[in-house]
């Protein structure tokens, strides 16, 4: 197949005359923009979530009875610091405990405050052994277990990721339909040109290529325009809210650039199959 296609051949099978063609460009810009912004936001979201999750997994709070004596607490602290994967253990002072419990009790002053120990742990900690050790040393201690909550949040994040995936599939479906529509209406209007090119010796591959390259170029143009708009918006947001700017990691930029490229790829595949089948039938 000739790579460099001459102007006259390009013009002969131009899809410019079909209204669907303009719709394709507009919709490509819109869909590419949606995918770019959607994919970038989900990346930021999952980055933030991961950092938060690590923080949550990195701390275990132990609640001891207010009556616990100092030697018992001291002993517990020493034993726990020696436990594998525990890097530090700290006793919270009464003010902090008070402020922590404030939301749950209206009048904290009336109750004696518990003793709270916060252990900083590494992700590879063996929770079962850790919990067992705490219970043997301080049978009445309560261990703050946020695993259930973490799981609920993980599920929510998972669900929203799936939601975005399904949404993207729908967008890709719309893109395919648009490409099919453009190629079909375009070629219906160019039926005479198609048959003349065939009589002059245009092969199916050559004619398909003439149509496909127009669709691909158009969808790449749509991608470029959508990208410019998306970048402009992201830069504005980062300028207005600098803390959001900090979240724009290289990974976010990569996703912003390359995820919407899926649409030109889909356009290329759909245009090739549709155009080839029409050219063959003509």
């Amino acid at each position: 197949m000739a790579y460099k296609v001459a102007q006259a051949a390009k013009k002969a099978l131009s899809l410019d005359y079909s209204g669907a063609n303009r719709l394709l460009l507009l919709m490509t810009i819109m869909l590419c923009w949606l995918i770019a912004v959607g994919a970038a936001s989900i990346t930021i979201f999952s980055n933030v979530y991961q950092v938060w999750q690590l923080n949550q997994q990195g701390q275990i709070s132990l609640y001891l009875l207010p009556s616990s004596d100092d030697s018992e607490i001291q002993n517990l602290q020493e034993k726990l610091v020696a436990f594998p994967a525990v890097s530090a253990i700290q006793k919270l002072d009464q003010h902090k405990v008070q402020s922590l419990l404030q939301p749950y009790f209206q009048t904290t002053q009336a109750f004696p405050l518990p003793v709270v120990l916060v252990a900083t742990v590494k992700p590879n900690i063996d929770r079962q052994k850790f919990d067992a050790l705490v219970h043997t040393l301080a049978p009445t201690a309560e261990i703050d277990d946020n695993r259930a909550m973490l799981q609920v949040i993980a599920k929510t994040v998972n669900l929203s990721q799936w939601g975005i995936f399904v949404f993207s599939v729908i967008l890709m479906g719309i893109m395919s339909l648009l490409v099919i529509l453009t190629v079909r209406t375009g070629l219906r209007e160019q039926k005479k040109a198609l048959s003349i090119l065939q009589f002059l010796g245009g092969t199916d591959a050559f004619l398909t290529n003439l149509i496909v390259r127009q669709i691909v170029l158009r969808s790449l143009l749509g991608w470029g325009i959508a990208l410019c708009i998306a970048i402009a918006i992201v830069v504005c947001i980062a300028f207005i809210w600098p803390f959001l700017g900090n979240l724009l990691t290289p990974q976010v930029w990569l996703v912003l650039f390359f995820t919407p490229l899926l649409l030109p790829i889909i356009a290329w595949v759909t245009a090739s199959t549709t155009a080839y089948s029409i050219v063959q039938k003509s």
Partner: protein, 282 residues
């Protein structure tokens, strides 16, 4: 049925002279007459071979072409004449593979067209120059682009080829209208664009359906001179015409078609018989 083997050497009539312009157009094509002639003759003996070919249109009641058998040697020049509705265009449609015979076998450039793939059909058409009775030009292309079209099927045309296009357009008297759209041309001008397009690709086989039907006598002769020049350099020419004077002046043999059959072969330089004479002979 009249089985025909046309091998007679064409004779030029006395007043036929090859003008310099014609030679220069051929030279621009890069023709080397003797070499090209020998090459074609070595490759295959018969350019066109019809064996008991019939064709009935899907909506037609009687066959448009009926049990037709004839052979045209490579490098020959023949006229195809006959009354309106005789089946000339139908024969041409079978030659440019728009339709396949409902019965019988057609050989073109040494190939049985019944066994060709779509790709092979396209490649075969590239070796032909076709002048359509209804012109078949692309209205969204300029005159020059229309003529360039066959050259673009192999990639972008070279500067030399582009120059050749301009020369040919000059030769058919359209040098001043190269950027015009075909819809703004007269019938005769459109026909000349079609002729330029058919010869630009150095065809091995040139089939022209009424190429002089819409032009004045002087231009008709000029076009015939161009065909003669191509023929001299190896192109096999089959030309359908109603123009008795043209057939008689140019001295090539004529296949006289009526009711889908060849009724008579008139040797070159002879007067065409009257309709009644042919009917009597049949």
């Amino acid at each position: 049925m009249l089985a025909t083997r046309v091998t007679e050497k064409p004779k030029l009539s006395k007043d036929f002279t090859v003008c310099e312009c014609c030679l220069s157009a051929a030279a621009l094509h890069g023709y080397n007459g003797h070499q090209s002639n020998n090459r074609v003759k070595k490759d295959l003996l018969y350019m066109i071979r019809f064996e008991n070919v019939s064709y009935t249109y899907p909506q037609g009641e009687k066959p448009a072409v009926n049990d037709l058998t004839f052979e045209l040697p490579s490098g020959s020049f023949h006229f195809l004449s006959g009354p309106s509705g005789a089946g000339k265009t139908t024969i041409f449609k079978m030659l440019y593979l728009d339709i396949l015979p409902t019965e019988g076998k057609t050989m073109l450039l040494g190939k049985n067209v019944g066994n060709l793939s779509r790709n092979e059909i396209a490649l075969l058409r590239r070796q032909m120059g076709i002048v359509f009775q209804d012109f078949r030009l692309l209205d969204n292309l300029s005159v020059r682009e229309n003529v360039l079209l066959p050259l673009t099927l192999h990639g972008a045309p070279s500067a030399e080829q582009e120059k050749c296009v301009d020369e040919i357009l000059d030769w058919v008297g359209l040098g001043h209208k190269t950027h015009e759209q075909p819809e703004r041309l007269s019938g005769g001008e459109k026909q000349r664009v079609g002729i330029a397009r058919a010869v630009v690709n150095r065809p091995k086989l040139l089939i022209a359906d009424e190429p002089t039907g819409n032009v004045d006598t002087a231009m008709g002769k000029r076009i015939l001179h161009l065909f003669c020049e191509l023929h001299k350099h190896g192109t096999t020419v089959l030309l359908a015409t109603h123009d008795r004077e043209l057939v008689e002046n140019f001295g090539f043999p004529c296949l006289y078609v009526q009711d889908g059959c060849i009724k008579k072969i008139i040797p070159g330089g002879q007067e065409l018989p009257k309709q009644s004479e042919i009917e009597d002979a049949a």
